[in-house]
Symmetry: C2
Subunit: 267 residues, 2 copies
Amino acid sequence: MLVIKAGGSEGISLEAVCADVAELVHKGQQLVLVHGGSNETNIIAEKLGHPPRFVTSVSGYQSRRTDRETLAIFEMVYCGKINKSIVEQLQALGVNAVGLSGLDGRLLEGPRKRSLRIVEGGRRMVLHDDYTGKVKKVNVNLLRLLLDNGYLPVITPPAISNEHEAINVDGDRAAARIASALNAELLIILSNVPGLLRSFPDETTLIHRIDKAGIEEFVSHAQGRMRIKMLAATEALQDGVKRVILSDGRVRHPVRAALAGKGTLIE
Amino acid sequence: MLVIKAGGSEGISLEAVCADVAELVHKGQQLVLVHGGSNETNIIAEKLGHPPRFVTSVSGYQSRRTDRETLAIFEMVYCGKINKSIVEQLQALGVNAVGLSGLDGRLLEGPRKRSLRIVEGGRRMVLHDDYTGKVKKVNVNLLRLLLDNGYLPVITPPAISNEHEAINVDGDRAAARIASALNAELLIILSNVPGLLRSFPDETTLIHRIDKAGIEEFVSHAQGRMRIKMLAATEALQDGVKRVILSDGRVRHPVRAALAGKGTLIE
């Protein structure tokens, strides 16, 4: 079992990801595709007059400010525009894709953060109307049901909270949960960088291989979004996934390249 | 088996539909929910600077002008905003809903109209870049798979063409196809009128019952959108559905009211 997460940053070619996915599926590889949509959400939110805002938690992680209106825009872009575009592309490539959000069949479930402690302009603030949370449970029965009947699940946030609200969750960490729930051999996380860089953004400082035992040390190298990716990788490995590859989603054959040794391999 | 179609016109309360659906599901009724989203699509399309346009075919049917950009907006609203909002509401009511478009698992498949002959300002024109079509095939295996495992399918256009393109299809006729594919006893079509009116828009002229044998005569009474609903009803009855009810989606308990004898019963 292989889980592929394709990020939603600018420059990542979902067309190229779909082509590689179809190639693998036609060779008999069982896989699940997880995707993001952050860049497109920013564009649509701007056009709809509800521009994106990002907040930094007191522990230093950046996330999208997700009020109820943002959530509706988020769903339009992730579950509507991008998910259905991927499903359409895969269908055209002969792959029987089924697109699902974490709400559908409670596919991705977890607690909503009742309050979000953030730092803004040096001041600490607490948000109570933010719809973000963390995936704790994956409906693996629904995934197996689809996989065993020849469907390829294409999965996107939001997830569903324990109190049945849609919640924005990190896509990389959701993919890590999905990979461990399915006992995947490998999780590939494709983004707009070549992998973990020793000195960001210098791409010549790519770290090719990290041993699972020494991963903690490397988390400190990570900057911005890469910190969450390293956290996702750590969680996946702790929960039984054998290998994680962080690789470049902007190249012509992103999945093929990752499988051929590009990017950062963590095992 | 019961199939409910909730329209997407202004005034139809999806919240009320969800409450009634949940009530029926908790009583053990197997059902499938199909929904529209036309009014919300108009609003979002306007905001995104790609205002809605409607065209009239030479045979007199009105439909949304669906170029590729409209299709993306259509997917955002139908598959993203509305579908996920319904799934979230049903989940909160204890119903394990799974939202699917016609693209997912090729759930709704049919031919795309290669050219659309329209009348505009008295002149005949032919459109070649319109993405509309007709559902001919329903993936009933996927629906049964979900239903047999305790999931409630929540289905929305677009469908998928035989050439794997997303196509805008009429939601009422898609619901009719789904109802006949599932050998449903009953199809309820909820819209923003109380049923078929002898003199539209005079709601006191509601026709309470139509015999299947005499349906042709009544099709001529129908105006605008109601003509397509009558066509959908005719198709459903021809393909084995026992009863069709056209009823009001704007009331407090739209499904309960339809089952209690409101609206137009066609059998």
